[in-house]
């Protein structure tokens, strides 16, 4: 066994997620995997380590190269972050654990409504389900519809209508429905 692929990682995340383990470390040759649950992650806040807003945090580095990023799951369901010691991301506003960031999958112009003057897709405080459209990101007349991907409540809209949003910029903070999380974990 020399390496871990995408499916293996998902399985590890699930097993650790269901267990009582707070921290999990795995080293296979040059590959290092470090998982920490949110209860344990709280302790790291004081030390200045960036902690993502998910119940499970996975950090996967290969060949001990900190910038090697591996996205193991799409959108909002579980984030994989590189080990960014020394240069923490300062852009993201600090948020209470339990909120999920919906991030821009591409750079473009952010639109909250299907057309000018129309009511917005969503407003703060509104409940959404996976298939609900949250916004549109336009790149050169190509309109990309961004769906919620999760069930929950929109807590904050972080981008302005008609403005440029960058790749990976947080657009929405969503408070997830706990039942939804359970269902996801069982899937």
């Amino acid at each position: 066994m020399g390496s871990i692929d995408h499916d293996d990682l998902i399985q590890i995340l699930e097993i650790v997620g269901h267990s009582d383990i707070d921290e999990f470390r795995l080293e296979l040759g040059e590959l290092k995997l470090f998982l920490k649950k949110s209860s344990a992650a709280h302790a790291d806040r004081a030390s200045g380590m960036p902690v993502p807003e998910r119940t499970e945090t996975a950090s996967l580095t290969e060949r001990a190269e900190p910038s090697e990023e591996r996205t193991t799951s799409s959108g909002a369901s579980g984030e994989v972050l590189p080990e960014t010691r020394g240069e923490p991301e300062s852009r993201e506003p600090a948020k209470v654990t339990g909120y999920t960031a919906i991030k821009a999958p591409l750079l473009g112009t952010f639109y909250r409504a299907p057309k000018p003057g129309a009511p917005p897709f969503v407003t703060e405080g509104q409940s959404v389900i996976e298939d609900d459209t949250l916004c549109i990101i336009e790149v050169m007349k190509l309109f990309n519809t961004i769906k919620a991907g999760i069930k929950g409540t929109i807590k904050e809209i972080c981008a302005e209508d008609g403005q440029l949003v960058e790749f990976d910029q947080t657009l929405f903070w969503v408070e997830e429905d706990p039942k939804q999380e359970l269902r996801e974990a069982q899937a």
Binding site: E69, L107, T109, V139, M140, L164, F167
Partner: protein, 450 residues
Amino acid sequence: MGSISRVFVANRGEIALRIIRACREMGIESVLGVSNVDKNSLPAKMADRVVCIGPHPPLQSYLKVGTLITAALGTGADAIHPGYGFLAEQPELGEACMHNGLIFIGPKPENIRQMGDKLVAREMVRDLGVPVIPGSELVHDAKEAGAMAEKVGFPVLLKAAAGGGGKGMKMVRNPSELKSVFEEASAEARAAFGDDRIYIEHLIANARHIEVQILADRYGNVIHLFERDCSLQRRYQKMVEEAPSPAVTSDMREKITQAAVAIAQHVNYENAGTIEMVLDQDQGKFYFLEMNTRIQVEHPVTEMITGKDLVKEQIRIASGNPISFTQEEISIKGHAVECRINAEKPDANFMPHPGRILSWTPPEGHGIRIDSHCYSGYFVPPYYDSLLAKLITTGVNRSKAIHRMEDALANFDVKGVETTIPFYRKVMNHPDYLNGRIHTRWVEEVFLNR
């Protein structure tokens, strides 16, 4: 077209930094588009504004025309500088700029298109009376290639019409290997460039790579900034460049620079460009190779001997200004040598060696210039080219410049990643190099075949 007040830099690494610095000196704001792994790079720290254009694969960030245009418009830029590589020689970026009211800091799309097709460029140049290498014609199949190869004489080079910059070339030494190499070459050309047209050239054994830097504005002014010698290559990739060339006589210089100016004038060229030539050292003849429609990696050696800033000149020309000096106002002052310091293991067939630079201590002093985006602690990502720095030294003459290079290389300390510095130290001490007795396959013959 009006003046430029904010430039969107559509590149990364040392050339992004080079463009940002030029903008600063001109009082122009810079916006840098970065992939997510370049967010903390030195150019990102230097730019007035940074936007993340996508994830690290170039196809999802640095090569996305629509994204770059959207980012430039969304950040209020009025021009885009493409640097070299990535989209620099894709006419689509210039066209998209035109359609969106942005200035492309580079040649017109039709210039890029004309010169991008190496076969079209060759025919046009030949019609101007500039010599091209014997054999250069389109061949449709292995049989036709065989007949052409016999005519021009083995060994020959099979070249992709859509190639260039040393890519898409294959050597054939004798008729028996022609069929298989032809099929390989056209399959590779199709995969790499989406165009499987192949042409044949006689391989010049004792060749030097000489190129002429030109500048052209929209008022019909075309001037040359003399030649660079880029003969020290490994697998057609340049490693050491210098200006002027030790192999070019003043008579030859007159001929090649006039040919370069004539080519640029003929196509109504605009902005900076380079006419690449092959010098057959046995015959004392030069031939047109290709034209590069961008700023080149090795432009600093020209800047060092002429005292002119080529990137600033590019921006001035793109703003609609005439070239800020005349042919008569420039001359060759001294000599300049450049080594491309790459994150590669010279002893392991120059295998790329990305990773964390633990310490970065470049040489300093009179006559030393370093164009680099590296610093202690910088992580060299494995997704892009391995160029760490361009080390340029100058001197009143060639031997003084080389001597200074030797010293600079000895005092260039990099820890954490392996670099090509030890290799260049050997080159700078080699009698062949010191005496100017090299050719384009010298590195392979002297260093790699043992």
